[in-house]
């Protein structure tokens, strides 16, 4: 160890104990790369805080000793988009996996409060015991941090419950880059958290305090403005009845049209469109099963779920099903083909639970995902563009978000990362396709890794200028994840 690191270890040990710090290269090396093509630096060390006060002290120390911090929350090494790889020298990893408490589950107010290290595999069963469910992304990996998923605005699969882009995130406790502790939304006060709880609050209003909403700038910041030490999240009750519908077609436009009407009238819970390969990857495990199912399915697959709860659950399903049938008739969509190729329970498992390993790795071991937000009209144009460049081994996922006002479009490029030439070829295609999409109007609202520079170059300059002002306010010394987004200057 050099002197600087030695001093740093000593200082950090005073904050969270020497057993919670490591400089072991075997521990550090996995943090210098991830499953993306992004190349970064090795961290100097890794620290595992277990309390908010420790996080605060470490960030204050970073401001004093001029080192930077990359926060990591998921417990597995299956990180994907380069946002946790150090870009600068003199950087440490703050691993938040020891802050893994479910602080409260409030059934009456449909809200949960969790720390950043809480994973899907920990939280989903706990909530199920209470008759509650999270607003989930599509079949999340069990070891993934729930909070990270939400802070990164991963799309959720029930658009009608997606009232705002920020959902299901509600209130947060955050330590800004200055080392100052803050609470957002109604958690800001007046009063302490326990005084607020005593008054009957449950931190379900994310807006504010008063005339600004800092939670919105923390979200999507890739840990570059503040480190969230707990957050509350919106929940829903578990339905007692769920009915799966699966339509497939070779014409995506008619499925999009149908799905748009479902979203418009808020008739279904989960709904998304997958191409045959991605649907097969979602529900099957072995490559052979995936290939067989892919070959049996028509190219495009619309899944939606109707759900009801309590004594009138069946009544609800009947009314929804009847109304949807009328809608299909009135929209001349009755020719759409319903599929029985997949056991409905297999689909429900993917809606209600987590997967042990990322489902996108099932086909060829590795994948690179290109994702962005689109309006309704442009989706077929983007699909055509990507398929022209990369027709094989391509998974496609279309997810209406924010109550159907926009769509998450995702292209999963499957490949074998053990095969050098295939990997090299894919890296080139990944970059080329990404740029092509940006050039024809795809909105990359989560600009990871090398995308960031390209994305901000395609936005008006005022966007970067305004974001840098925000960075200067909350992290003036650039100690948090320096170099991400447009914060490289």
């Amino acid at each position: 160890m050099n002197n600087h690191i030695d001093t740093l270890v000593h200082s950090l040990a005073k904050i969270c104990g020497s057993k919670n710090i490591s400089v072991d290269p075997n521990v550090l090396n996995p943090y210098s790369s991830d499953m993306s093509f992004f190349k970064g630096n090795n961290p100097n060390l890794i620290v595992w805080p277990s309390k908010t006060q420790e996080v605060t002290k470490i960030i204050k120390l970073a401001n004093q000793m001029d080192f930077s911090i990359v926060p990591v929350s998921s417990s597995s090494n299956d990180r994907h988009h380069g946002d946790t790889i150090p870009r600068k020298d003199n950087c440490i990893i703050m691993n938040l996996t020891k802050m893994d408490k479910i602080l409260s589950i409030d059934k009456k107010n449909r809200v949960v409060m969790i720390e950043p290290g809480v994973t899907f595999e920990k939280l989903i069963p706990k909530l199920q015991q209470s008759g509650l469910r999270l607003l989930l992304p599509l079949y999340p990996t069990g070891t993934k941090s729930v909070l990270t998923s939400v802070l990164e605005r991963e799309p959720i699969i029930i658009p009608r419950y997606h009232w705002d882009t920020s959902d299901p995130l509600l209130c947060t406790e955050v330590v800004f880059g200055t080392g100052d502790l803050f609470r957002t939304g109604t958690a800001a006060g007046p009063g302490t958290l326990s005084q607020q709880k005593k008054a009957g609050q449950a931190h379900v209003n994310p807006m504010g305090p008063t005339q600004f909403s800092p939670y919105r700038v923390i979200q999507g910041a890739q840990g570059s403005l503040g480190i969230v030490t707990w957050a509350t999240m919106k929940l829903e009750f578990i339905p007692s009845e769920q009915k799966v519908f699966h339509y497939h077609s070779n014409n995506i436009e008619e499925l999009l049209d149908f799905q748009q009407k479902l979203a418009n009238y808020r008739l279904c819970d989960e709904t998304f469109i997958l191409n045959n390969l991605n649907l097969a990857c979602l529900v099957k495990k072995s490559r052979e099963e995936i290939e067989n199912l892919t070959n049996s399915l028509l190219k495009w697959n619309l899944i939606y779920i109707l759900a009801g709860r309590g004594n009138l659950a069946i009544d609800k399903l009947n009314y929804l099903e009847g109304d949807i049938n009328d809608l299909m008739r009135d929209s001349n969509l009755t020719h759409l083909e319903s599929s029985n190729l997949i056991d409905k329970n297999e689909i429900l498992e993917c809606m209600n639970n987590y997967t042990a390993e990322p489902w996108r790795t099932r086909y060829k071991g590795s994948y690179q995902d290109i994702f962005f937000i689109s309006n309704f009209e442009n989706i077929p144009k983007y699909i055509k563009k990507v398929e022209l460049k990369h027709p094989e081994n391509l998974g496609i996922y279309i997810q209406p978000i924010n109550q159907g006002t926009s769509y998450h479009c995702e292209f999963d490029l499957f490949y074998d990362s053990e095969n050098g030439s295939e990997t090299n070829d894919l890296e080139g295609k990944f970059n080329e396709i990404s740029i092509d999409l940006m050039d024809c109007g795809a909105f990359f609202n989560r600009p990871y890794g090398y995308w960031a520079r390209e994305v901000y170059a395609r936005h008006i300059e005022q966007t970067s200028t305004a974001l840098r002002k925000v960075k200067k306010i909350f992290d003036p010394n650039n100690v948090l994840n320096p170099g991400v987004l447009c914060f490289d200057k």
């Binding site: 008054a199 009138l312 009328d326 024809c440 109007g441 005022q462 200028t465």
Partner: protein
Amino acid sequence: MLQKQVLENFQKIVGPENVDDSEVMTNAYSYNWCMEFVNSSEGKEPIPFSSIPKAVILPSTVEEVQQIVRLCNQYKIQFKAQSTGLGPWNQPSSENCVILDLRRMNKIVKIDHRSLYAVVEPYVSGAQLQAETMKFGLTVHMPGAGPQVSPLASATSMNGPGFTSPHTGHSARNVLGVEWVLPDGEILKLGSVGMKNDSDWYIGDGPGPSLRGIMRGWAGAKSGIGVFTKVAFKLFPYPCSTKFKLSGNSPDYEFEIPDYMKLYVMDCKSYSHLEKVFLAIEEEEISFICSHLSGYGLGAIFSNSIGSLMDKIPIAGMLVPLVVLIAARTKREFEYKQKVMSKILIDFNLENVIGSKYTPNSLFYAEALRSNLGLHGFIATGGFQSSKGQCDTVKVCVKTTKESIPLKKKYIKKGVIGNDFGEGVWITSYESGHYFHIESPTMFDQTDEKSVKGMAENMEENYQFDLLKHLGAPFFVEGDKMHDLFGPEMMNYHIWLRKIKKAFDPNGIADSGFYISAK
């Protein structure tokens, strides 16, 4: 008045006919509703006039707004922007200020019925937009202030609770793309509309952090952080058939009630029961309106005058009323929703008085669809304003209601505010019961100095009360005095808000009277 050269420069931007610094015009613009009690709160004479603006300027494009703001920076003159202009928040807080009246920016830019959003300019009213969206079977969220106000102002700059909030949410959470002239004159475009090529309005967040968090919070910045010239926001399925047939003369129109609407008014009899019923109904996701009003408030929403209010004694006598309106697009949906309500009535031992003890005029249903119920707050004394404005769980809203009754009664007893037995509140659910807000509409006489002063004192005491009891931050925490009062009790947020103001408005040009100054 403006100096001659300054006036000429503003005229060059918008044309001489669109700048006016005459005494008569600037004096007229210094009037606004509730200005008298704001003045009283600030220790000034309780008159309904603010500082007189130096001039009134009417831009018609974002480029003109930009040039005006740049000129304001050059001459160190503050600006205050207003859209439909209801309330004291539209008023300048100093005499070194021009008003940007955005009434010429009155276009509905786009209705995207497939992607369920509309893009509007500042002077488009909710009613105007709703009339257009109805053609696509869609509706718009309108704030409690009513259909006559600007949904752009509500979405970007004000607050946003509405009577239809269970179905249409809160203005701040419905925002998509935004066009925003910053106080330094730069034009910022949020989200997908900020792309250099192929820009569109479908999302307002990113790339990366969402600047919507700087734009506003639970409350908006009331022009203190710039001028919003276009906004996109979500549209919602119109809750029933879009036929809208009115006949007769104002104010007693007859409305042909669309199929599949049913009103429920129930007396929960106790606040603890109200809390349970509220949650039970909202968990079922069936309501278009779900609001608690006091007995008096209930009578008022069905009345157009004090005289007609007197006829509502049978319902105004309710102890803890709950108003629920269900509406449906199809017969099946309607039958299901009625079944759910029937079950809740049995489970909670409630009686729906509509159709048995009371039948409202058909106009009520039109006003419900048009979010036009707030106007009834004016009928008793001609003026009202709301204290409170907290938003979190139904529990904290009910607790706030109960515990604030003695405080309100104190001012009723003094004879300075209208008598609603201290119970006059409005609680509504949002997003099918995920959160709730409470406000306490308080009636006073704007023409009576004693009443105005009493109202101001009542508001002040409510702020202290809410702070002391940790009941959340009310609506009108705005302006330096209020931020300095609440900030230290709320994570010192005022320090961060001031940093934002300083970073985005280095010359302090956007009037901060209802926001915060950089100090």
